[in-house]
Symmetry: C2
Subunit: 192 residues, 2 copies
DNA sequence: TTAACATACAAACAGATTGTATGTAAAGAG
DNA sequence: CTCTTTACATACAATCTGTTTGTATGTTAA
């Protein structure tokens, strides 16, 4: 049984990413050792360092994949929706659903920023979930006849609030209350 | 020249905390090695491990001290103020001033949560800045004749927004815009 | 088809780092 | 003045990371 190089690479890389994801989620980035990762993936450290520049690069691959999955989950649910306000809240709900997958808050909101830096994570995020939020907010502000001069700042603040809500939900706090609080915040922005 | 044990401990511990703070800020927690810390502090690793259980405990000491400093700076500026709304915004400004001290965003908002965990950082924070926010928000909501059922959730969301604003300010974005955005958010909450 | 090369990986190595264990001098108690 | 405790310094053991070296398998082109 012989496999092409492409096939070999593909299966090795994804085995590494999956094993790494599990360990990063379970023990965090710092406490996860590369020998454990490769053991779980069924390869050796040689394979890891052949496909990734270093441990951080493997972590980045895990996080990027995760961000894409979240973006895809939200996109997929992008109902045509009713009012811009409802679209915004539906987007929030979709985001919380997506972030409910175990380990995502840790990967994307805890270890991600610390390991990759705010800048990197911001870039990964901006192209994904945060862009959607900005568009939704812009539409809602426009519909409410409000200025969009602060759209950048408001998007950043709301995005942070969403992230914190996701964390709180995972910590066991009432999702209903947090969604209502988000709605309250959004309504405040849109009220004349 | 002989010093009492208390004096020796005091000076060693604070030398360690100060040296560690500088290095944690400059290079981050993971990239900072204990030999570098003790060299900068003018002691040996023996002293470090005598006074702190491990590297993480030293980091925790640094962060706790920082959180207290922020809380004190805000407290100190707690002008009797005018309306609850103005008190809230003044608190925000005080928070941004306090967080402007170099390294604080990295210590408290980036490495802190990753190294100590959300729970620990949440606890440290709750007893400090976040408690003040909760009180201010409760007062403002009461004055506006609004329900305070969601006070916990709203405090968490606003606190996250404040943190993100502090990060954005450090990244060079317009503080004026961010403060205005915060004010917009707050006003939305208080409008009938 | 086969010689030349590139790719994928395994295994061994070097340096650095963390926490511990051991040794010593100074302080404090009785 | 002895005995104990505290505050360190130094040496050590166990990892862990990134690099290097070696090998087998896949790919390409004459």
């Amino acid at each position: 049984m012989s496999r092409s190089n492409r096939e070999r690479t593909e299966s090795t890389v994804s085995a590494l990413i999956e094993a790494a994801r599990a360990l990063f989620v379970e023990k965090g980035y710092v406490e996860t050792a590369t020998p454990d990762i490769v053991a779980a993936a069924g390869v050796t450290r040689g394979a890891l360092y052949h496909h990734f520049e270093d441990k951080k690069a493997l972590f980045r691959a895990v996080v990027e994949r995760e961000a894409q999955a979240v973006a895809a989950a939200i996109e997929e649910r992008a109902a045509p929706a009713g009012s811009p306000r409802e679209a915004l809240l539906a987007g929030a709900a979709a985001y919380f659903d997506a972030m409910a997958k175990e380990g995502r808050t840790r990967l994307m909101l805890l270890d991600g920023p610390a390991v990759l830096g705010f800048a990197s994570i911001g870039a990964i995020d901006s192209e994904n979930a945060e862009g959607t939020l900005r568009d939704g907010l812009a539409a809602a502000l426009a519909a409410a006849g409000k200025s969009d001069r602060l759209i950048g700042a408001l998007t950043a603040l709301l995005s942070a609030a969403f992230d914190r809500a996701a964390i709180a939900i995972e910590a066991g706090e009432s999702r209903a209350d947090l969604e209502t609080a988000i709605a309250t915040l959004a309504d405040g922005l849109l009220k004349p």
